[in-house]
């Protein structure tokens, strides 16, 4: 009379699932409680390179075990969740733009205290480091991370497209840059359209963050982002020369149409365009190198950014990530050994050889291994001299708020609906307000 219930078989299956679920897992308590945790963000290739460093470290320090914790899309959220929950990782990857907020709150260990006890390493580090990169992580007198890789921006260019258009190859050294005008000319010559107006080849694409790239052009017009570098009191959005650089960048897409509409950063399409040979120049950093190397039929090289009329020579940006130690770590000695290794000469040499990063120690950058990993690059000087020819990005705990303001204000400017001079009144004022009440 009544329908059959859900079915004994289904229920048993469910119970079986529950039971079986308990079997294949190793002990329910987190094994490896005594391992050093290392938190970083990386795609599989980069994670691989890091694993090699960890293995090498394990060989030299068999008593120290390292456990990796990979980050998702938002490292800050993960990190703060772990730390707020009392499980801060011991070794943390630090980013130049966001570490200051953590340093100010005492989350990161001041490495100067440890360096004081390890004079030998301190001396080596001082001799071999590139000052501008090292100083990036100096904040309020303390040293909160050691730089691990240089991720400054430069230009990739397609050699074949240049040759087809009969253009001379672009400059090979930061000391002898090309001008904004020359750059624009080149981009114009390399932009091709169909009769219908649709573009089949772009002269220039940006694979970085449009707002930051615009700022980089402003920097190359002779004006830094802010003054002073650390804990800035003033951003130069009200400086005419800086604005001129920003306007030049915006005009590339909006007025001269040599670049596609500036949409969101890390958009797959701009990188793809260059890799597929549909863009002649691409602005980006070393992190794009592997993708372009793997692209079939892409014959590329690198060149420097153009310098503006008010600029003195060309610059890249001091983009860098580093390794820091959590102040609350209970394994500080072990963490120190690991950080020393990874940012020291051996670890940096390994990084250089992997071809995935540009190392931050002089010895590693100019090593044969680094050269071998970049055999396809003719203008190696762009990479090896890059860190020494870089301008700084702001280092401030208030970066997130300022970044949000920048992102919002740059939108209409990059689309061409508002001139860059509008930043002088809007953005400059908003930033001043944020800086005055932290």
């Amino acid at each position: 009379m009544f329908d059959k219930p859900i079915g004994r078989r289904t229920l048993l299956r469910g119970a079986g699932v529950l039971g079986a679920s308990l079997l294949p897992w190793p002990s329910a308590c987190g094994a490896g409680e005594d391992a050093l945790t290392f938190f970083f963000q990386a795609n599989p290739d980069e994670a691989d390179a890091r694993m090699r460093i960890i293995e090498e470290f394990g060989r030299r320090h068999p008593d120290i075990r390292v456990r990796t914790v990979l980050s998702g899309p938002d490292p800050m959220q993960q990190m703060s969740t772990f730390c707020a929950g009392g499980r801060c990782p011991d070794v943390l990857m630090a980013w130049e733009l966001t570490y200051a907020g953590l340093a100010e709150r005492g989350v990161l260990l001041d490495l100067n205290t440890v360096l004081a006890r390890d004079q030998a390493f301190a001396a080596d580090l001082k001799a071999d480091s590139i000052a501008s990169l090292y100083d990036t992580f100096t904040f309020n007198g303390g040293q909160y991370a050691f730089p691990e890789q240089w991720s400054g921006n430069f230009l990739f260019y397609n050699k074949r497209l240049f040759a087809d258009a009969g253009l001379r190859p672009p400059p090979a050294r930061w000391e002898q840059p090309w001008s904004f005008a020359e750059f624009l000319e080149t981009a114009r010559a390399l932009t091709k359209r169909e009769r219908s107006g649709r573009v089949t080849q772009w002269g220039f694409v940006d694979t970085w963050v449009p707002a930051y790239s615009a700022g980089l052009f402003g920097m190359n017009n002779g004006v830094p982002w802010c003054t002073p570098r650390t804990n800035p009191t003033h951003f130069n959005f009200d400086d005419d020369a800086f604005i001129e650089g920003i306007q030049f960048y915006a005009d590339l897409a909006a007025t001269h149409h040599v670049a596609p509409t500036a949409i969101d950063a890390q958009s797959l399409s701009t990188m793809d365009l260059f890799a597929a040979g549909r863009a002649a120049m691409a602005m980006g950093g070393h992190w794009r190198y592997q993708t372009f190397v793997r692209a079939e039929g892409l014959d590329f090289d690198v060149t420097v950014l153009p310098a503006g009329p008010e600029g003195h020579g060309a610059q890249s940006d001091i983009g860098t990530t580093g390794l820091a130690i959590a102040a609350s770590s209970s394994r500080k000695e072990q963490a120190w050994e690991f950080v020393k290794f990874a940012t020291g000469p051996i670890g940096q040499a390994m990084i250089g050889e992997s071809g995935l990063f540009v190392p931050t120690l002089d010895s590693a950058i100019h090593s044969a291994g680094f050269g071998r990993a970049h055999r396809r690059i003719g203008n190696l000087g762009v990479l090896t001299e890059g860190p020494a020819h870089s301008g700084y990005l702001p280092v401030t705990p208030a970066w997130e708020k300022i970044n949000a303001l920048i992102d919002r204000a740059f939108g209409p400017v990059l689309r061409g609906t508002r001139p860059a001079t509008s930043l002088k009144t809007g953005l400059a004022r908003d930033i001043a307000q944020v800086l005055s009440n932290p």
Partner: protein
């Protein structure tokens, strides 16, 4: 025990496991976040009590709150209305014994099963201004390219489109299940009485799936109001371009994990909760009144 008392006792026992899970896993987090809304906490240093300061700032000194509220309302309405309408139609379409209907029923399930990571990449390509699928298709019928994710207004439209695409399968699956519970005999009787298909749909189907319909509406409103995942992967964590997609969920995340102002974020979360609670109570009352009238 009398029958009613036995049923009441059974009721409590049946609810007990769920209640226990709620008490253990939700009570502490809810209490914690409520407590934090009266503090200033940056997640790393000890929290400091600030009383109602967070709420005061939120309501009087933060112009972005009103913007976020307005955007969230627009997004919610722009998601719910199309979702409910479309899913009613689609569920009605799928509620037939056509050949191969099983295939279509499986297909409608796909958007629900897609992870947000993939969705973001795919839709960014669809919305690409120069080369994207949508602008290409618009080009075939002679319309100019639309700046989908580039302009603030259009960005909100794009967001609603993806949100509807994401929500329709969920609503359809629920409504279809409800429709399949409507007895055939009712339709047959109505057909004999000469009622048209549309008439049958409006007078029989819709009233009888009222419960599922109100469920879909309420849950969709709750989800759309708190929407964060979708917006974050599609237009970034800043609600860009400008403040075009700056919804409450984004504002919440930004304050909690970017600005490290967890107290302020908690205050915002509870304001959102209050708004949703009022909305839901009103809807439940309305639903009950409608069912009583029937």
């Amino acid at each position: 025990m009398t029958r009613t008392r036995r049923r009441a006792w059974a009721g409590r026992v049946f609810v007990a496991p769920n209640l226990a899970a709620l008490a253990v896993f939700m009570l502490f987090p809810l209490g914690f976040s409520l407590y934090m809304s009266f503090q200033r906490w940056d997640l790393f240093t000890p929290a400091k009590f600030v009383g109602l300061a967070n709420f005061r700032t939120l309501f009087t000194a933060d112009p972005l709150f009103l913007i976020a509220l307005r955007n969230t309302v627009v997004f919610t309405v722009g998601t719910i209305v199309p979702t409910v309408l479309i899913s009613l139609v689609v569920a009605a379409l799928l509620n037939r014994k056509l050949m191969g209907i099983g295939f279509f029923r499986a297909v409608i399930f796909v958007p629900l099963a897609v992870s947000s990571v993939v969705m973001a990449v795919v839709w960014q390509f669809v919305f690409n201004v120069d080369d994207g699928l949508l602008n290409t298709m618009l080009g075939w019928i002679g319309l100019g390219p639309v700046p989908w994710l580039v302009e603030p207004g259009w960005a909100m439209v794009s967001l609603c489109m993806v949100s509807v695409w994401r929500s329709v399968p969920f609503a359809t699956v629920v409504l279809l299940a409800a429709m399949q519970g409507v007895p055939e005999t009712l339709y047959e009787a109505a057909k004999i009485d000469g009622a048209s298909e549309w008439r049958r749909f409006v007078s029989i189907t819709v009233p009888l799936i009222r419960g599922a319909l109100s469920f879909v509406v309420i849950i969709s409103i709750i989800n759309a109001f708190q929407a964060f995942d979708l917006v974050y992967v599609l237009t970034g964590g800043n609600g860009g371009p400008e403040t075009g997609t700056y919804v409450l969920g984004i504002m919440l995340f930004q304050h909690a994990f970017a600005f490290l102002d967890f107290g302020y974020a908690s205050a915002l979360a509870w304001v959102m909760f209050a708004i949703l609670l009022v909305l839901t109570v009103l809807q439940l009352r309305f639903a009950r009144r409608v069912s009583l009238e029937n």
